[in-house]
Structures are given as C-alpha cells and as structure tokens.
C-alpha cells in the first residue's frame, strides 16, 4: 500500500505535462511527457525518388568491412529497397571532446536510420567510447536486445526467446565521476524521470508491437531506494496506460538466478531496466544462446535509430574471412522491422535460420569451416 502512496505522491508534479503537454513542451523539451498517442522512437523516413530508402552504413573496424559486405550481398540478392550510404565515424577532437565527424552526423540525421559494425574502443585514458558518443549524439535512449535460440547451434539452454530493453543514456553509465580525495572515487548513477519514462514507455509499445503480453521492470530498489525506486514507480504508473499489457517487477538478483536456471518463463515478457543491469543481463542472455556473434541489437532514439552488432571488432581475425556476420545480419533484420519492411525482414530471417539449422555452412565460431562469404552465399541460396 505504502508503495502506491509513495508513487502517487512522487508523481504528482509530473502530471502537469501529461495534461498540458504542448504548452509545457515549449519551455521544457526534456519534460514532454509523451502524453499523446504518438509512438515514440518510430521511424519517419521516406523513400527516395528511386523507390529506395537511404541507410547510413558504418562498417566499423576489424572484421567490420567483411561482415558488412555479406549484408550488402544478401540485401542485393533479396531485393531489399535499401541503398547504403557509407559513413566514416572515426572520431575527431572538437573543443577537446571526442566527437563524430559532421558528415557522419548529417548522414544519419538525414536518413534517420543506420547500420553499424563493431568499433574498436581502447580501454583506459583518452577517447570516450565511440559507442557512447554515438548514443549521446543521437540521444539513443533505448537499447533493444532480443535473444533467440538458434536451431543448429546447441547450447545448454533450449527455447530461449528473451527480449531486453535497456535504458541507454544515464544510470550507472552517466559518466559523472570524480576523485573526492586521493584514493576515494565517487561514481554517480543518475536516474531521471524523463529518461526513465521514455524508455519504459518504449518498452510497453515495443511489447505491444511484437505481441508480448508482459512487461517486467528489473531493479534493485531494495538497496537503491530512490534511484531504482523512481524507475520502478514510473513503470507502475505508466502500466496504467497500457491495460493490455501485464506489468510486474523483479529484483535483479532473482532475475539473474531465474534466467540462468530456466530462461523459458521469460519468453512472454519484455524486460526493461536501467543501464548497467541491462548491459550485464543482455550479454548474459546472449551467452545462453551462443554469444554476441548471434545476437542483434537496436538503439532507438527520438528520431534516429542505429542497429548494430555488439560483438568486438576481432582484429586478430581481420581480413581472413573467418568472421561470422550473423549478429550484424540479425541487427539489420531488426532495422527492417523498425522501418516497416516486414516482408523482407521475414524472408531474410528465414533464410538465415534455415542456413544455421542446416549447419553445412557455419563459420568457425559455430564449429563450422565456412568462410564469411560462403556462409552469406548459403543464405542467398536459401532466399530463393
């Protein structure tokens, strides 16, 4: 009971923007409240005169160019109405900060959608992670990470079909850190109503769009009562606007334990959570089905969205045609779904799943011997 009471008390001030969304939005763009029916994070791109969508393509480092080539080949064979616009995001320093070249920003802003291969981020001093920079530049607030078991690649877990949505702009990865005194560091986890509400709302909408009936918030509000508490309360509040979706919550510890014990009860749910938990759990779910080489990822922003392979750039196998393009391919399929090109998405997805299930042309990481282009070739054959 008192949880509800707290929730309503806390939420009271924000009701205003819900009622007068337009008026308030003018002065407080961050507090728009998304009260309207408008779908957030939707795709608003238009076809060009030649009937094709222009999509920015960031091939990435290491194995990036090879796996990007596979995607291009498969898309050409599948006759997808997409034209690729290659984009270079090698960072530049702008006023002392890591930044992405203007040309790249313009391209993505124009096309509203991009596909991205792996980028190398060195650990340690120097540049801010380029991935982080991209997220900030385009305000990519939600990271969507589905994980589905792949027939043909056996792991200890069968029938996995999880979907995780991670808040992508703040939380533990706010980047606000400082030395208090020598040997004492504070790192700030930032949770705001605006960002939390946005990602939660997206989670509800996404659940509706993919036909999942339940949304679950994963939190640690027992310990972080205010920050995770806010996130959880907002979930509860928003759930009232989505009567068709069942809402509940689970403690992070329990989620970790339960997914590892048996992931199948999570198949009917969309999990939504703050940044760090999402980061860890989405990779853990990837581990259930065979690793990052097999899982797609989408970063949804207000206007632009970037779909990417989240695995590393694997410089050790660069140029040897050993890389597995599956993650990038699956990410591109998510992109097609985001763009409303569902038929093409389904067709390519089926061809890819078939190829993996047949198991004749698997890359080395899946225990096969096929080269990158041979695997892509097999998918193209299955398209027909």
């Amino acid at each position: 009971m008192s949880l509800l009471r707290t929730a309503s008390r806390q939420l009271a001030p924000s009701r205003q923007p819900f009622i007068r969304a337009g008026a308030v939005a003018a002065q407080q763009p961050w507090n728009r409240g998304y009260a309207t029916e408008k779908k957030i994070g939707g795709f608003g791109g238009q076809k060009q005169a030649n009937g094709k969508y222009l999509v920015s393509l960031i091939e990435g480092d290491g194995i990036g160019p090879e796996i990007s080539q596979s995607i291009k080949d498969i898309y050409a064979a599948a006759d997808v109405p997409i034209e690729w616009e290659p984009v270079d995001v090698n960072p530049i320093l702008k006023d002392g900060k890591t930044a992405i070249p203007d040309a790249a920003i313009e391209s993505i802003k124009r096309n509203l959608v991009a596909l991205k291969g792996p980028l190398a981020t060195p650990i340690g001093k120097g540049h801010v992670s380029l991935n982080l920079t991209l997220r900030r530049t385009f305000n990519l607030f939600a990271n969507v990470r589905p994980c589905k078991s792949i027939a043909g690649y056996k792991t200890p877990y069968d029938g996995v079909d999880t979907v995780l949505i991670r808040e992508n702009t703040e939380g533990e990865y706010s980047g606000i850190e400082h030395h208090v005194v020598d040997g004492v560091v504070q790192s700030i986890k930032l949770i705001t109503r605006a960002a939390s509400e946005r990602v939660l709302r997206y989670a509800f909408q996404y659940a509706e769009s993919i036909g999942k009936k339940k949304v679950r918030v994963v939190h640690k509000a027992t310990i972080m009562k205010q920050s995770d508490g806010l996130f959880l309360d907002l979930g509860l509040e928003l759930s009232k606007q989505f009567p068709n979706i069942q809402f509940d919550s689970e403690l992070l510890d329990n989620t970790c334990l339960n997914i590892v014990t048996d992931p199948t009860p999570y198949n009917d749910k969309v999990l939504v959570m703050p940044n760090l938990y999402g980061d860890i759990l989405s990779d853990m779910c990837a581990g259930l089905i065979g690793g990052l080489g097999l899982t797609p990822s989408g970063n949804i922003g207000d206007e632009c969205s970037i779909f990417e392979a989240v695995h590393g750039s694997a410089p050790d196998i660069q140029g040897k045609a050993l890389a597995n393009p599956t993650a990038l391919l699956f990410s591109s399929i998510m992109m097609l779904q985001h763009m409303g090109l569902n038929e093409h998405a389904a067709k390519i997805q089926k061809a890819a799943f078939d190829t993996l299930a047949q198991g004749k042309y698997l890359t080395g990481d899946l225990g096969g011997k096929a080269k990158t282009h041979e695997y892509a070739g097999a998918i193209i054959d299955n398209l027909k």
């Binding site: 560091v185 790192s187 700030i188 992070l252 329990n254 334990l257 581990g287």
Partner: protein, 389 residues
C-alpha cells in the same frame, strides 16, 4: 569446502603489516595473528564459555526459521559445542517497531561473539521502508569480504558440469553505499564509492585465498571501460597488488563479458574478485549454474568478525513456513562456520552427510526436483550422520 585456515590466512592479508609477520604459518590457526600487535590476539578470538562457543544466530525472514531449525537440530545431534544466541530480527512490516532495536542487538551480539550464522532479513522495496539490515550489518561490522563457492554438487544434475569457482565480493562500499539524493524532483543521484584502501584489502584477501586454497588464477571483474575512475581504481589496485603474488595467474574481465562467459563456459573461472553489485549479480548467476540458492553456502569475513550465511542471499518469502525450503545452503554455511571455529570433525561429519543425502537422491527438497520437506531432508542428514558413526 573452504578451510578455516584458508579463510583466516586470506583474512590476515587485508591488514597492512610488516613483511616479516607474513611468514608465520605456524601461529595458532585460530588467531588473527597479524592484527596490529598492540591489540591482544585473544581479544579477537571467539570466546569459549564452559567449553562451548557462543554464536549469534539470526534466522532472518522467509525460510530462515526453518533452515535455522535444521542447523540447530543437526548441531544438537552431533553434540557440537556451540550455543546459539538467537535474535529474531525481521525486516517485515509487522515486526517493524521492534526491528531497529533488535538490529542493534544483533550488532552487539555479533561484536561480542565474533561469529554468527544468519539467514536473510527481508528488505522492503518501498522507499519509505528501512534500509537493508543485511547491508547495514555488513557495514557496521566491517565484514568486508563475501566468499561464495560455486561448485557442482555430486549427484545434483544441472545444465553445466565441472563448475568450480569462487566469488570474492567487496561487501562494504560500491553501489551499496546507501548514498542517494534527489537533486530536484525527478532527478536522482546514487553514489557508488570505490576507495583504494578497500580495493586493496579485498584484492589481498582474494590473492591469499587463492594461494591457500591452491587456486591458480585470480580474475578481477570490473567495468573500467565505462566507469574509468571508479572501476579503474579497483582494477589498477588489483593489478598493483598482483605483483606481490607472482605465483598466481591474473587477468581481468569486464562484468558483462564475465556474465556471458559464466553461462556459456563457467569452467574457465577460478577465483573472481569484484565490487559489491557485480558480486550480487555473479553469485546469483553462479547459483543458477549449480542448483539454486538452496545449495550455495557463503560467508562474510572481516578482521574481527565472521558471519556465515547462504551464498546468494535469497529471503524465500514465497515458501515461508511451508516446510519446503532446502536447508543445504544453511547447513553448509554452518559447517563452514564450524571449520572457522576449529571444529573440523563436526564440520566434516555434517557436510559429508549433507552431500551423501544429495548424492543418493532419495530424499530431496522441491528445488532439487524432489518432493520432500525441509524436515524430511534434515532427518535424512541425521540418519547419514548416525550411519557414519
């Protein structure tokens, strides 16, 4: 199982001390030998009264009462020279009035007895609710190192085989600092604190633990690519201390990768050391690998105090009072405690009996795909102990 000696040796490491003191393995095992010499060694010892150790018992909420009963029954049957000083602190609403008082009593009792066995006390999600007693207790007693053993139990079938690793988790700072504030309505900051002193202390504990238990590799788990200062400090401190332990292999792993590896190739892990929150995540993932929270024992070690509790810290409110809980985690935690007290024979008898029951597989609780109750399981353990006499 972790030997008492192993833990205590690891423990000593947490204290900065002159190099010469390090090479005294023959110091009576039970002492915390290297605590600053101005403090009498015996002061830090658990005290025996009338031939018995007095140990604080905090059953906690949820399944605590049932599993604590199991421990009591088994200890009694084996004539273990331990007398429990039980404190029924609860984090649930109904017990609230009393809770703060009882919590203080817990602290006082543990400070007196130095050793405790505890279940998990419930923590409300509610923002107006009290802070976690579990965390408070750890911070108050400075029991800084949580040790959780993730190991397959023979006879208990799980998805992964040959899992055998150990999680050493910093227990007193990090994300569980409890420092939070609302800057303006709708903007909340939660502080994660990492200090060099505590990072060094836990790193030393991990290295010594690895050495004494014949482990080969120590891995530091972090997210220093994003939290460059906080986790960066934790990692760099670990790497600095590592130079003092050339015989051990060391490496580092980012926490998301570690979680992924844990569910795909957990066999690669040996000893893992990490800040607070990651420890919570990985110990739960680990428990999932080897059979759930009901079978994973653990302990929290400080310089002066040691509190033993189930390793992945689940309250189990949903099966409270149904006589369904698996007492294994609590029994094994109890056995660990006995080793800590130097009661190795009792510890050996109890843990052997528990493992036998599980291996035989005739009597199992629900979480182990059985149909038996907590009491039936406990009785079977007693029978096995009788047989071995």
């Amino acid at each position: 199982m972790i030997s008492r000696r192993a833990l205590q040796t690891a423990l000593r490491s947490g204290v900065r001390r002159p190099q010469s003191a390090a090479a005294v393995p023959s110091v009576a095992l039970r002492t915390y030998a290297t605590f600053p010499t101005t403090v009498g060694e015996d002061l830090l010892m658990p005290t025996k009264y009338g031939g018995k150790y007095v140990v604080t018992l905090i059953p906690g909420d949820g399944i605590g009462i049932e599993t604590a009963d199991a421990v009591r029954t088994v200890f009694k049957a084996d004539n273990v020279p331990v007398e429990f000083e039980q404190i029924d602190v609860s984090g649930l609403e109904e017990g609230k009035k009393n809770a703060e008082m009882l919590f203080k009593e817990c602290i006082a009792s543990l400070k007196r007895n130095k050793v405790g066995l505890k279940g998990i006390v419930y923590t409300p999600v509610d923002r107006s609710g009290h802070a976690s007693f579990n965390v408070g207790l750890r911070q108050e007693l400075d029991i800084y190192a949580s040790v959780v053993l993730i190991k397959n139990i023979p006879g208990l079938q799980t998805r992964h085989q040959n899992v055998d690793f150990c999680i050493i988790r910093e227990n007193t700072e990090g994300e569980y600092s409890g420092l939070e504030h609302q800057s303006v309505p709708g903007v909340v900051e939660s502080l994660k604190i990492i200090t060099r002193a505590k990072s060094e202390r836990i790193a030393r504990f991990a290295f010594n633990f690895a050495k004494v238990n014949n482990r080969k590799k120590v891995t530091v788990i972090h997210k220093a690519n994003i939290m460059k200062l906080a986790d960066g400090l934790f990692r760099s401190t670990f790497q600095r201390i590592a130079e003092e332990y050339p015989s051990l292999e060391t490496n580092d792993l980012i926490v998301d990768n570690a979680s992924m590896q844990a569910v795909s190739k957990p066999q690669q892990f040996d000893v893992l050391v990490m800040p607070n929150l990651y420890g919570g995540i990985l110990s739960n993932i680990g428990a999932g690998l080897v059979g759930g929270p009901g079978v994973v024992p653990g302990c929290n070690m400080g310089r002066e105090h040691a509190v033993f509790e189930p390793g992945c810290r689940h309250v189990g409110l949903d099966i409270k009072g149904q006589d369904r809980a698996n007492p294994t985690a609590m029994l094994l935690s109890g056995a660990m405690m006995l080793r800590h007290l130097g009661l190795d024979q009792h510890a050996g008898r109890i843990s052997t009996a528990v493992y036998k029951v599980i291996k035989e597989g005739k009597v199992r609780t629900h979480d182990m795909q059985g149909t038996n109750s907590t009491r039936e399981f406990t009785n079977e353990v007693l029978r096995k102990m009788d047989e071995s006499v």
